[in-house]
């Protein structure tokens, strides 16, 4: 492959420097027509962005690399023309659907059952004052993260999913972001509020928008998901990221988990050129729990920089985190995990697993599973990690059953990633994910076979 000859070589940058042009005049664009409290919030976040280093945690400073982002020409979306969102097209197996296309609300639909239960799904912009507490909550977005703070300063679209206390919503609510319009830098916030004793399921999809062009200049998408779980609440979130290969994505997820509440994350990272994700789980309430599974299937020159911070604060809390990365071609992952057990957190059970499978000699997998523990009175505090090739014994076994070697390899790799696929709570999304993994396997291994033949 040859790079377009006309494009000038990008300027040499520090590893933690993002090429996106950002200046203070940005805030003036937002201030007109917005409440003062929001302007103040953006201002504070902008100041934090200006002063923070690219990687806030000194532990991980050597493992950040934003040089693949070529966003010098990108422009930050400040204001969009009014939306004409459709309320049609709600699939039968979902409770709600909200779709945002290149920043504009394109679909908002809710099932009658969900509406009757008091569920609200809407754009944050529809009523800012109603979510003022959530929007200004300083713990809702990682305060120490430079790019999370930029998102807080520059968001122009947002989604609210509100499930009132006691409501039990069986079918998933789908939040779909269709992005990738050439040269666009879009920042968004998503707030998910699940009241006391309520339960809900959210499927988040990041897909190519109608104006996406993988061969054009890069675009940026940076979004949050801010989760507030009341006492005894239960939330499952499945996220499927299949962005075009010229999109740089920043994902910032943070959850406050109340007493006895439980949260499950199933995160699949497949697309994008450079993906930087951070999940902050704060187990505040006694007996709260979080289960997080994350998979990466990388190919080409993709870089996945995934951090996960789990803080045990309440008593008898449980954390169970698993990250798996299978890497083709020249793809890279940085899996950075930190479990913190505070002195107040007696009776903690915490596990962090980070596993890698390098399928090519040019792939690179970095795992930094860390622990910081102030309270030894725990049920379990451990992490484990491994990196290995495809298990020859498994391969031999499958081949002995008459499965051709290439097929057998595919089974093993897809099986390695299955823990997340199995947790996607929507059949159509699950099928879609399996299909994507298989497509990616074929594209990635054909490349290798081609090289070998040449």
């Amino acid at each position: 492959m040859t790079a377009p000859a006309a494009r000038p070589r990008p300027a040499r940058r520090a590893l933690d420097e993002l090429s996106l042009p950002v200046d203070a005049s940005l805030l003036e664009g937002f201030a007109a027509g917005e409440p003062d409290w929001l302007t103040a919030d953006r201002r504070a976040a902008f100041d934090a962005w200006s002063s923070l280093p690219g990687e806030s945690n000194l532990l991980y400073t050597p493992y950040i690399d934003l040089r693949a982002a070529q966003l010098d020409e990108a422009h930050i979306v400040v204001r969009l023309a009014p939306d004409g969102a459709s309320s049609e097209g709600l699939p039968a197996d979902v409770a709600g659907l909200i779709e945002v296309t290149d920043g504009r609300l394109s679909t908002v639909a809710l099932s009658a059952g969900a509406r009757d239960a008091g569920v609200v799904v809407r754009s944050l912009l529809d009523d800012l004052d109603a979510v003022r507490d959530e929007l200004t909550d300083v713990t809702a977005i990682a305060a120490s993260d430079k790019f999370a703070q930029l998102t807080r300063a520059a968001w122009s679209q947002g989604v609210l999913v509100d499930v009132p206390a006691g409501a039990v919503i069986d079918r998933p609510i789908v939040v779909r972001w269709a992005v990738g319009s050439v040269g666009q830098a879009l920042f968004t916030r998503t707030i998910v509020r699940v009241g006391d004793g309520a339960s809900a399921t959210v499927v988040e999809e990041f897909v190519a928008g109608p104006h996406a062009d993988p061969t054009a200049a890069q675009s940026l998408f940076a979004g949050t998901m801010e989760v507030h779980l009341g006492a005894g609440a239960a939330l499952q979130v499945a996220s499927l990221q299949e962005l075009p290969t010229n999109v740089v994505a920043f994902e910032h997820r943070a959850a406050d988990i109340g007493e006895g509440a439980s949260l499950q994350w199933a995160l699949a990272q497949l697309g994008g050129r450079l993906v930087r994700s951070r999940v902050d789980n704060r187990l505040v309430g006694d007996r709260s729990s979080v289960k997080q599974v994350e998979i990466v299937f990388g190919s080409d020159e993709q870089l996945f920089d995934l951090s996960s911070f789990t803080t045990h604060i309440g008593k008898d809390t449980t954390g169970d985190l698993l990250s798996k990365a299978a890497l083709l071609e020249k793809s890279r992952t940085y899996l950075k995990g930190l479990i913190t057990i505070e002195r107040s957190a007696n009776g903690t059970d915490s596990f962090l697993g980070e596993f890698g499978m390098n399928l090519s000699k040019a792939a690179r997998s970095v795992a930094i599973p860390s622990l910081e523990i102030d309270q030894p009175d725990c049920r379990r505090a451990m992490h484990s990690s491994s990196v290995g090739p495809i298990d020859e014994t498994q391969l031999f076994y499958l081949e002995s059953r008459g499965i051709p070697p290439d097929e057998a390899r595919k089974f093993i790799v897809l099986g390695f990633l299955e823990p997340v696929v199995a947790r996607v709570p929507l059949a159509s999304a699950q099928d879609r994910l399996r299909e994507l993994l298989e497509e990616k396997w074929i594209a990635g291994t054909d490349g290798v076979a081609g090289e070998a033949a040449a």
């Binding site: 390098n358 000699k361 792939a363 690179r364 970095v366 860390s370 030894p376 992490h383 990196v387």
Partner: protein, 467 residues
């Protein structure tokens, strides 16, 4: 089981003493280019060494203080005496050692140890080796074991060939500091095919308030040769902070085997910032057996660069952090060649508000195919005022590496204590026994006398925690 219920007494006294020595030569406090020149002048060194020191000094000044570990900003470089010579020349036999210095070592038990099985003693008193004896048999088989300063004069070629090649001055701020002002340490050279039949031992001590100790150890083991080097440290207790910044370089040539054992028990006012690194060539084996119980703060990650095909690295790192202590220790295995293996085992105990940090790196570089590596970290916390951190860095850039890593943190199981108490042990004894069992992976690698001494140290630490 017959439980001998020995009354445990605080033996800190035994290690906490200092003598008033008349220092014959010393530099004034603080570090300038002139200090470096002065040290090199005192030692009458060749020009290349002076240039090496100056290059290191310049880097030290430029290099920022590391911020990834805390508390280093408390070191006041201007208050330190960088060179202090306790006696005019190196002594060849024990009888020639000045009485006062000898008395200090008597209390550390060196002569007794030597009578038993010491192959040679390099006793570092403050900043220079004052006493050195090498058994005749070692000289006969061509093994060189002497002070580093002396080796620079007597073996200039071997010295120049390897010195600073494993840890260049630019490696880190404290390696730069050591390279600028180094003094003393041991030099070991084992010729091709020679197996040193007994462990080589060196005792290091710091004496004198605010005396920096910057020893430099260089171990070169030729093809097919084998050696075990042991260092143990004790230091007098002082109220103000002392700095110890050592550099240890090990060159393990093809087919050789090197084991380096350390028991670090500096007094609790010492900042112990050490760079230890080995280069392991084809089919060689390097082992770091490293225990840290003393010091106020230790920052030390014994490293092995597996440079030759088929090389093996084995690192056992043990840390005990008590009141006011931070043991920031760990290990590094850097795989640069195919078919190399590494194993890292780390055990830490934190108590009485102490903090134990495991920081480690496992790296498999492109081209290092068929690597097998494992990292195991276990931490025991004895109370909820203490802290334990685990920061492993795993960076794999090959597709056929087999790497496993596991880490656990926990407290002493109440069931185990209950069981032992039902057998007649006191709670303290039961906990002590459990801690000793937890650290056994280290203790069992020690020569017997060291194992006994180490268990005694652990016991003493445990007593302190509960008394």
């Amino acid at each position: 089981m017959t439980a001998t219920r020995e009354i445990v007494t605080d033996q800190r006294e035994k290690f906490a003493f200092h003598d008033d020595i008349t220092y014959l030569r010393e530099t004034s406090r603080g570090l300038t280019r002139a200090t470096v020149e002065e040290i090199s002048g005192f030692k009458d060194e060749p020009e290349w060494m002076l240039q090496f020191r100056l290059r290191a000094f310049e880097h030290f000044q430029k290099r920022a203080m590391p911020t990834w570990t805390d508390g280093l900003d408390r070191i006041d470089f201007d208050k330190i005496v960088y060179y202090r010579k306790p006696s005019e020349r190196e002594e060849k036999s024990w009888d020639d050692v000045p009485e006062q210095i000898k008395a200090t070592f008597e209390r550390l038990g060196i002569p007794e140890a030597e009578r038993k099985f010491l192959a040679g003693v390099g006793a570092q008193y403050d900043s220079e080796v004052v006493y050195h004896s090498v058994r005749e048999e070692l000289s006969k088989i061509g093994v060189v074991f002497m002070g580093t300063d002396q080796a620079l004069k007597e073996y200039p070629d071997i010295f120049k060939k390897h010195f600073g090649t494993v840890v260049p001055p630019e490696d880190n701020k404290f390696a730069a500091l050591n390279s600028a002002v180094w003094s003393g340490g041991s030099f070991v050279y084992v010729p091709k095919g020679v197996e040193v039949p007994l462990p080589l031992q060196a005792y290091f001590r710091i004496n004198g308030e605010n005396t920096g100790q910057f020893e430099r150890t260089l171990i070169v083991v030729e093809e097919g040769a084998k050696v075990h080097y042991i260092e143990g440290c004790t230091a007098p207790i002082y109220a103000t902070d002392s700095l110890h910044a050592a550099v240890v370089e090990v060159v393990a040539l093809p087919g050789s085997k090197v084991r380096y054992t350390t028991i670090q028990n500096w007094s609790n006012d010492v900042y112990n910032l050490v760079t230890k690194r080995a280069h392991a060539y084809e089919n060689s084996t390097v082992e770091w057996i490293d225990a840290n119980t003393g010091s106020r703060k230790t920052v030390k990650f014994p490293a092995i660069y597996l440079r030759g095909e088929g090389a093996t690295a084995d690192i056992i790192s043990v840390a005990v952090a008590g009141k006011g202590q931070h043991q920031d220790t760990g290990a590094k295995a850097i795989h640069l060649a195919p078919n190399t293996r590494s194993r890292i085992v780390s055990k830490s105990v934190s108590k009485d508000g102490g903090r134990a940090t495991y920081r480690g790196q496992l790296k498999v570089s492109p081209g290092a195919t068929n690597v097998v590596a494992s990292v195991r970290c276990d931490a025991l916390m004895l109370d909820d005022q203490s802290r334990s951190d685990t920061y492993p860095y795993i960076d794999i850039q090959e597709d056929d590496t087999t790497m496993t890593h596991e880490a656990t943190v926990g407290k002493i199981s109440a069931d185990q204590v209950f069981y032992l108490m039902s057998r007649g042990l006191t709670e303290n004894e039961a906990q002590n026994l459990i801690v000793q069992g937890f650290l056994e992976v280290f203790t069992k690698e020690l020569p017997m006398e060291y194992a006994i001494e180490f268990n005694r140290l652990v016991k003493m630490e445990m007593e302190g925690s509960l008394g």
